[in-house]
């Protein structure tokens, strides 16, 4: 007896990515769903997620941040200004020590990922400076693999951190000092540029590089959000996990706390590999968007932006109301695979 043709037909359909998505639970939905769907939901956690309440990892499962050595809640507002001194000509010299390493990271409860990292965290440290400063980055390769640090910005060719130019590839155990001027001001990034490039990035070798304008931007509650993913199967075809700042769904359980009415500035970076675009959407609010942060005037007032690989921009907003507001990729497939979180607005 042959299998029915329907089976074969549907099998083709099922293999396509991004099947039927379910609605993301806004607050009223959650309340409704809790009334109707609780008996269908294994586990009794009242937090977001599970069944019609939206995507979640296994309820109650958590990542061991201590063992990982970093915490997305800390990465959010952790700006690494390095150490500064004054050069003979009066300019500021800013210096950092960065090391590459190999680390197994629990990227999701129960899933270990053999990562390559800058300073033992994903994303790497958020390096912050001011336009016109002289920057000196001492890079030590403690990994078993060759790496470089390639900065976005304006600099001479030999400081570009790519194979075959200047110091080229930095072999395991070797080190190099990259030195260049901080320009232009804006929101940039750095990453390893050794081949295969996609894998070196996807393994975790990236970080944010902020060059502040000569005059400070208005005072704000500042945070960095690096959008990225984990291709845990290493098949180079999309990712199994999507996240901001290291751990998928993290800000669902530990919301980003902000104050009502206070200016919030988000340095938003997309370094996702294997998927051509990523996006950022915020609930119940709109933001001013400054692409690449290289101009002080916003180009758009919106609640959703799309960023391709390597694109970034600054979002500025104030929350007029109290409560929890979701933020996530409006590429909802990514949202349901880990890239979603909450803001919690308090007085």
């Amino acid at each position: 007896m042959a299998a029915a043709s329907r089976r074969a037909f549907l099998a083709g359909g099922a293999s396509l990515l991004g099947g039927a998505g379910i609605a993301l639970g806004a607050d009223p939905m959650r309340t409704l769903a809790n009334e109707h769907g609780s008996d269908h939901t294994p586990g009794s956690d009242t937090a977001h997620g599970g069944g019609v309440n939206g995507p979640t990892f296994r309820k109650g499962s958590t990542v061991d941040h201590r063992a990982n050595g970093f915490h997305p809640g800390e990465i959010l507002r952790d700006f690494d200004y390095g150490t500064t001194s004054t050069m003979p000509d009066g300019r500021v010299l800013r210096e950092w020590d960065i090391f590459a390493g190999d680390r197994e990271i629990e990227v999701t409860p129960g899933v270990r990922f053999p990562a390559w990292t800058f300073n033992a965290r994903i994303p790497g440290p958020t390096l912050r400076c001011r336009e016109g400063e002289r920057l000196r980055v001492r890079f030590v390769n403690g990994s078993a693999h060759p790496h470089t640090m390639h900065f976005h910005g304006i600099h001479p060719a030999d400081m570009d951190g790519v194979p075959g130019v200047g110091p080229g590839v930095i072999e395991p155990g070797a080190n190099v000092t990259y030195e260049f001027d901080a320009e232009p001001f804006g929101l940039h990034l750095y990453h390893c540029h050794v081949g295969p490039l996609a894998e070196h990035i996807a393994r975790g070798m990236y970080g944010t590089f902020i060059v502040d304008p000569p005059q400070d931007r208005p005072s704000a509650d500042e945070m960095v959000m690096v959008m990225h993913g984990y291709n845990t199967t290493f098949d180079a075809e999309g990712n199994q996990l999507y996240a901001v700042n290291g751990i998928p769904f993290h800000y669902m359980h530990e919301p980003v706390r902000v104050r009502r009415g206070e200016l919030v500035r988000i340095y938003l970076v997309n370094i996702l590999e294997y998927d051509p675009i990523n996006s950022f959407h915020i609930h119940g609010n709109f933001f001013d968007y400054y692409p690449t942060g290289t101009r002080l005037e916003p180009t758009e007032f919106t609640d959703t932006v799309i960023q391709a690989q390597g694109q970034r921009g600054i979002c500025e907003l104030r929350f007029p109301y109290l409560g929890q507001y979701m933020f996530h990729a409006h590429k909802t497939e990514f949202a349901e695979l880990g890239w979603m979180g909450f803001f919690e607005v308090t007085e």
Partner: protein, 396 residues
């Protein structure tokens, strides 16, 4: 040990000594031998087979078995690219061990789903649900439906075929021989069909319990068992009134009925599991298709009885032996739906039919004792063709 000493010792002492030595060496090998070899250089081989999928409102339940060499730790699960809450599978699943994963997911009727199991190493094991359908509950109504289905596709057609007996009685010995040849053709087709389906199912079972070897194992065991049963029946017949050496009419009819019954068990399995996943088109096409297909099975059973006058009761009994297993098969197929078990049972059907063919073969010889005469060969070919053509009307 000196051979003379060995000769003097009782057999049981030798047996105990031999087993002790073998056990001791195995234990030493297990403890020491493993350490003398290096570890595998590659990553762990993680393999899970979904043996059964149960869909209830808002829940997808998967019974998974580790069919690979290494333990598998289920970390998270996503369905159609959305992570879901789940219970079960908290501990690593050892080789051949199983676990039940309960996924909280608002699935929709008739939609396809791809369940992706993310293991602790980041590997993804995928399971496809071609079309989500509420899994039938094993209640009274369910068993009644399976019994009805089994009756329609198993018992009714077989008894229909047996109703041709009065017609067959009027025919000559030569025609009966052709009919038996036809029966061989029918059975050969059934055996091949069941074997192919068994292999297909075995592939799906993940191979932990032998995969395609299960079909061969089932066939071999069934063949041996039925041969032994036949010898026993023959031995009894010889001590009684019937002194002939070849398979006699009623006995051959019974053996054919048993063979076909075991085959119909497999057919029932296919129907039951198709019903469980909502693929079975219930209705006239199913009933008529099977009626056409299985009526010839009834014909096969009564072919050896043309020279006899069996009681209606005996005929009814034969019909039940051949047809009723379809009911059992349907119940097992719908309630258990285990690919490995189904493959084994299909193999049993193959073995049983093969044994019946071997039984019938001597009766195909003509007066000159030749097997290969045109009428016989034509009968076999006709049997194969009938099954092939009527099989086209069977849709599962």
């Amino acid at each position: 040990m000196d051979s003379r000493v060995a000769a003097r010792l009782p057999v049981w002492v030798l047996a105990v000594a031999a087993v002790t030595i073998v056990a001791a060496v195995l234990i030493i090998l297990a403890i020491v031998g493993g350490r003398t070899l290096p570890e595998r250089t590659g990553p762990p081989v993680e393999q899970l087979t979904v043996e059964r999928t149960v869909l209830t409102p808002g829940i997808i339940e998967l019974a998974v078995r580790n069919t690979g060499p290494d333990p598998v730790q289920v970390a998270q699960v996503f369905v159609n690219d959305a992570y879901v809450d789940l219970t079960g599978g908290d501990a690593p699943i050892g080789r051949l061990a199983s676990a039940t994963l309960r996924l909280s997911y608002p699935w929709q009727d008739g939609q396809p789903y791809l369940v992706s199991i993310l293991t602790s190493t980041g590997a993804v094991i995928e399971h496809e649900i071609p079309a989500a359908v509420l899994t039938p509950q094993a209640d009274g109504g369910f068993f009644a439906l399976m019994a009805l289905l089994g009756t329609y596709v198993g018992i009714v057609p077989v008894i229909l075929g047996m109703a041709l007996l009065p017609l067959l009685r009027r025919t000559s010995v030569r025609v009966v021989r052709v009919l038996l040849a036809l029966t061989v053709g029918l059975l050969a087709f059934l055996a091949l069909d069941a074997a192919l389906e068994g292999f297909e199912l075995a592939d799906r079972s993940g191979g932990a319990f032998g995969g395609t070897a299960l079909v061969v194992l089932g066939a071999g065991l069934a063949f041996l068992l039925l041969t032994a049963v036949d010898r026993y029946l023959r031995g009894r017949a010889r001590s009684g009134v019937d002194g002939s050496a070849g398979p006699s009419g009623p006995r051959l009819a019974l053996m054919i009925a048993i063979g076909i019954g075991l085959h119909n068990l497999g057919e029932g399995l296919a129907i039951g599991s198709a019903y469980a996943v909502g693929e079975l088109a219930l209705g006239a096409a199913l009933v008529v298709g099977f009626a056409l297909h299985n009526t010839s099975e009834g014909l096969a059973i009564v072919a050896p009885l043309t020279q006899r006058r069996p009681s209606l009761l005996a005929l009814g009994g034969l019909g039940l032996v051949a047809g009723a297993p379809a009911i059992l098969g349907a119940v097992i197929g719908a309630a258990v739906d285990n690919a490995a078990l189904s493959a084994l049972l299909l193999g049993v059907g193959v073995g049983a039919i093969t044994q019946v063919i071997v039984q019938i073969a001597p009766n195909l010889r003509d007066e000159a004792g030749k097997l290969r005469n045109p009428a016989t060969l034509g009968g076999i070919a006709a049997g194969v063709l009938i099954m092939y053509l009527t099989g086209l009307f069977v849709i599962i």
